[in-house]
C-alpha cells in the first residue's frame, strides 16, 4: 500500500531501473530525496550520475533538460514548487514546447517537468500555486495532474515514456492523504484520458487534482440526499479527453466543474466552452463552475475559503438541479 508521493517515487525508480537514458534532477533531489521526498533513496540506488542536485536556478533546470533531451536522454526535472516554475517559463514555452515543430521533427524534447502544485500544506506564499491553465494554453505541451496513487504511478510512467514534453503536476495536499495497492509492474496509463471515478445519472461533476477529494465527498453526501452524481477525474488536462465528458453529459444533462485554480480562463472555462460547442442541446441547466477566486492565493490562514469546499460544490449542484 503506497500513497501518492510514494507512487511518484516508485514510478521514477521503475523507469531509472529499466531505461538507462532516464535521469532525474532538480534542487535537493539527490541525497535529500526532494523536499517532499519524491526522490527519496533514488540517488543511493541509482547513483549520482543518474539522480543529482542542480545549482539553484529554475530557468537553468528547464533549459538543461531541453539540451539533454536533444541528445537522447529522458530527463525528469523537478521544480521544487509550481510557484518556482515561472523563471523557467521562457525555456518551457519558447523551447521545450517548440523544438519538434521548429526543426520539423529533427530535434525533440522527450522530457518531464515535475512540480508539486496547489495549497493546503501550511507553507508560505508561492508554494500553493494552481496555474495549470498557463501550460494548457501553450501549443506543444501536455499537462497531467494525477489525483490518486495508482494514477500518479501509471501517468508518470506514461509521461516519462512520452516522446514529447509533459508538465506533470502533483497535488501536494493529497501526497499523503491515503494509501492504496499499486502494483510496481511498470504498467503505464494512457495520457489524454479522463477517469470515471463514480457512475451516476443526475449530474456530472468534473474535476482534477486535489479537488477530487472534496468532489467525491460532495458526491457521497449528495448520494445520501438522493442525487446521483457521476464523478470524472480529468487527469490529463491537455490533451483533454472531451469525449468522456460529453458522454457523461449526454447521460446527465447537468454539469458542475470544480478546480482549485482561479476562475477566469481556468480549465473549467475551456471545458464549458467545449460543452457549449458540442453538448448544448443535451443540457437541462446552465453548467456551473466552482473554483478558486480571481485573487492571489491567500496565505494559509484563509486558504480553506479559497479552495472549493464540499459546501460550495453542493450549492452549485443544488442550483444546477434547481433545488431551492
Amino acid at each position: 500500500m503506497i500513497n501518492l508521493i510514494e507512487a511518484v517515487n516508485q514510478a521514477l525508480a521503475y523507469e531509472l531501473q529499466h531505461d538507462e537514458t532516464v535521469i532525474v534532477f532538480g534542487e535537493d533531489v539527490g541525497l535529500n530525496g526532494g523536499v517532499f521526498r519524491a526522490t527519496d533513496t533514488l540517488q543511493a540506488r541509482f547513483g549520482e550520475k543518474r539522480v543529482f542536485d542542480t545549482p539553484l536556478a529554475e530557468s537553468m533546470i528547464a533549459g538543461l533538460a531541453i539540451g539533454m533531451a536533444s541528445q537522447g536522454l529522458r530527463p525528469v526535472a523537478e521544480f521544487q514548487f509550481m510557484g518556482f516554475m515561472y523563471p523557467g517559463l521562457n525555456q518551457i514555452i519558447s523551447h521545450a514546447a517548440r523544438f519538434r515543430n521548429r526543426t520539423r521533427g529533427r530535434i525533440t524534447c522527450p522530457l518531464v517537468y515535475r512540480a508539486p502544485m496547489g495549497g493546503g500544506i501550511r507553507a508560505p506564499e508561492h508554494h500553493c500555486e494552481s496555474t495549470e491553465a498557463l501550460f494548457a494554453h501553450i501549443p506543444g505541451l501536455q499537462v497531467v495532474i494525477p489525483s490518486s496513487p495508482a494514477r500518479a504511478y501509471g501517468l508518470l510512467l506514461a509521461a516519462i515514456r512520452n516522446p514529447d514534453p509533459v508538465i506533470f503536476l502533483e497535488p501536494s495536499r493529497i501526497y499523503r492523504l491515503y494509501r492504496e495497492e499499486v502494483a510496481d509492474d511498470g504498467q503505464a496509463l494512457e495520457l489524454g484520458k479522463c477517469f470515471q471515478l463514480k457512475s451516476g445519472h443526475d449530474i456530472s461533476l468534473i474535476s482534477f487534482g486535489a479537488s477530487i477529494t472534496e468532489t467525491l465527498q460532495a458526491a457521497n453526501q449528495l448520494h445520501e440526499e438522493g442525487i446521483s452524481c457521476e464523478v470524472i477525474d480529468v487527469a490529463s488536462i491537455k490533451p483533454l479527453d472531451f469525449a468522456t465528458i460529453a458522454h457523461s453529459i449526454t447521460k446527465t444533462g447537468r454539469c458542475v466543474i470544480i478546480h482549485e485554480a482561479a476562475k477566469t480562463c481556468g480549465m473549467a472555462a475551456e471545458i464549458m466552452a467545449q460543452i457549449m460547442e458540442n453538448c448544448f442541446a443535451m443540457l437541462k441547466a446552465p453548467v456551473q463552475r466552482v473554483t478558486g477566486y480571481d485573487t492571489v492565493m491567500p496565505y494559509f490562514q484563509l486558504e480553506k475559503f479559497y479552495i472549493p469546499s464540499v459546501t460550495r460544490i453542493k450549492s452549485a449542484v443544488y442550483y444546477t438541479m434547481e433545488i431551492k
Binding site: 537553468m60 533549459g63 538543461l64 539540451g67 536522454l73
Partner: protein, 357 residues
C-alpha cells in the same frame, strides 16, 4: 586584509589592423588561410544578397553579419563535425561550414521552419531567437555528451547584449560547477540593437564574467582569424580533454543594422562606424594575403566570382523552393497528432486549399 584572489584576462591578437602578422602567431597553413578568406568572402557576398532579397520583397526580416564574418568562419574551421553547435541567429559563416545550405538560411528568413531540418548536420541546433536561452541548451547538451562518455563538446554563440540575461549567467555557473565540455563564444559587436556596450555592463571585459563561474575567460580580436583560430582550438581541445569550459569574448563591430527592420544611423555614431569600416576582418586578411604573396589580385577575383556563382545557385534554389502547406503547421507539434489538432488541421486545410485554388 589579504588579497583572496586575483584574475587576469588575456587578449589575443596576431594579425594587426594593418594586416601585419605578429612573429609569435601560431602556425596556420596557407591552405587554411585561403579557406578563411574564401568563407569570409562568401559570407560577405551572401549578406549583401540577403539584404537585397529582403529589400525587394523576396524575403522577410534578415539579421546581417557584415563585419563579423571572422568569428563564424573560425568556429566552422575549428569545431569537429560531431561536436554540437548551438548558434544564436547570425552565425552564417559557421553554419555554412557545418553543411547548412545557404538556401536554407534564406528559407529561415523567408518564413519557413523547413529550413531548420539541417539534414547534413542533424545534431546542430537551429537558430535561437530568445536571447541567451540557447546557452542553457548548450550546457544540457554538454552534460549529456559527458553522460554518454563521448569526447564531443558543445559550442554556443551569443551576442554582447545577451550577456545581461540570467540564462547566460546560469549557463556559465552550471558549466563551471559541473566542469562541462563546453565553449561559450560572445560576439561582442558593441551593440545590442541600439544599446551600446557601456550601457550593458560596467565590466571592463565580458570575458571576466567567466571568472565568477570559476573558469577562464579570454578576449580575442574578433576580426583576426589567426587569433580566433588559436583561441578556439585551445578552448575546444581543453573542453574535449575534460579540462573545463572557456568563455571567449570576440571583439568585433556590427557594421550593419541590427536587422533589416532597423536603422543603425539613428544611434551609431558615424565616426565610430567609419573607423570600424577600416578594420574589417576580410580587408585585413586580404591585405595580408597580398602582402605575403599568398594570393594575387587575380586569385582574389577568381574566389569572389566563384562565391558569387555559388550564392546565385543557392538564391535560385531559395526562390524556386516549394512553399510550405498548412499541414506542416500542425504535423510537427507532437510525435502523434492529438484529436484536437486533427480536427483543427482539417478546418485549416479546407481554408488553405480554398484560398490556394
Amino acid at each position: 586584509m589579504i588579497i583572496k584572489t586575483q584574475f587576469q584576462i588575456p587578449f589575443y591578437q596576431y594579425l594587426n589592423q594593418d594586416g601585419e602578422l605578429s612573429s609569435s602567431a601560431p602556425e596556420l597553413k596557407d591552405t587554411d588561410i585561403i579557406k578563411y578568406f574564401r568563407i569570409m568572402t562568401l559570407t560577405n557576398i551572401f549578406d549583401k544578397k540577403a539584404i537585397a532579397l529582403q529589400r525587394t520583397g523576396k524575403m522577410g526580416t534578415y539579421a546581417p553579419i557584415n563585419g563579423q564574418e571572422a568569428v563564424g568562419a573560425a568556429i566552422g574551421m575549428t569545431l569537429d563535425k560531431d561536436d554540437v553547435f548551438v548558434p544564436y541567429y547570425r552565425d552564417y559563416a559557421a553554419l555554412y561550414q557545418r553543411k547548412v545550405r545557404l538556401a536554407d538560411i534564406l528559407t529561415f528568413w523567408g518564413g519557413d521552419e523547413t529550413s531548420m531540418t539541417y539534414s547534413f548536420q542533424a545534431h546542430d541546433f537551429p537558430f535561437c531567437v530568445p536571447i541567451a536561452s540557447q546557452c542553457l541548451h548548450a550546457a544540457g547538451i554538454a552534460q549529456a555528451l559527458k553522460y554518454k562518455k563521448t569526447s564531443n563538446i558543445a559550442l554556443c554563440t551569443i551576442g554582447d547584449g545577451g550577456t545581461s540575461e540570467g540564462d547566460f549567467y546560469e549557463a556559465l555557473n552550471v558549466a563551471g560547477a559541473w566542469n562541462l565540455p563546453i565553449v561559450f563564444v560572445i560576439l561582442n559587436n558593441k551593440w545590442a540593437i541600439s544599446v551600446p556596450l557601456e550601457q550593458q555592463t560596467h565590466c571592463e571585459t565580458l570575458a571576466q564574467k567567466a571568472i565568477a563561474a570559476g573558469f577562464q575567460g579570454v578576449q580575442v580580436d574578433g576580426n583576426d582569424v589567426f587569433a580566433l583560430h588559436h583561441v578556439l582550438q585551445e578552448a575546444i581541445s581543453k573542453a574535449r580533454d575534460n579540462l573545463g569550459p572557456t568563455l571567449i569574448e570576440a571583439i568585433t563591430y556590427r557594421l550593419s543594422d541590427h536587422t533589416t527592420a532597423d536603422d543603425a544611423s539613428r544611434y551609431q555614431p558615424k565616426n565610430q562606424t567609419e573607423e570600424a569600416k577600416k578594420f574589417t576582418p576580410l580587408e585585413r586578411l586580404k591585405t595580408y594575403l597580398l602582402q605575403e604573396n599568398i594570393l594575387t589580385n587575380n586569385d582574389i577575383n577568381q574566389i569572389t566570382n566563384d562565391c558569387t556563382q555559388e550564392i546565385e545557385e543557392q538564391v535560385n534554389l531559395y526562390l524556386g523552393r516549394k512553399l510550405p502547406t498548412i499541414e506542416q503547421a500542425f504535423d510537427f507539434h507532437f510525435a502523434t497528432l492529438p484529436d484536437y489538432l486533427i480536427e483543427q488541421r482539417a478546418e485549416a486545410l479546407e481554408e488553405f486549399y480554398r484560398a490556394n485554388d
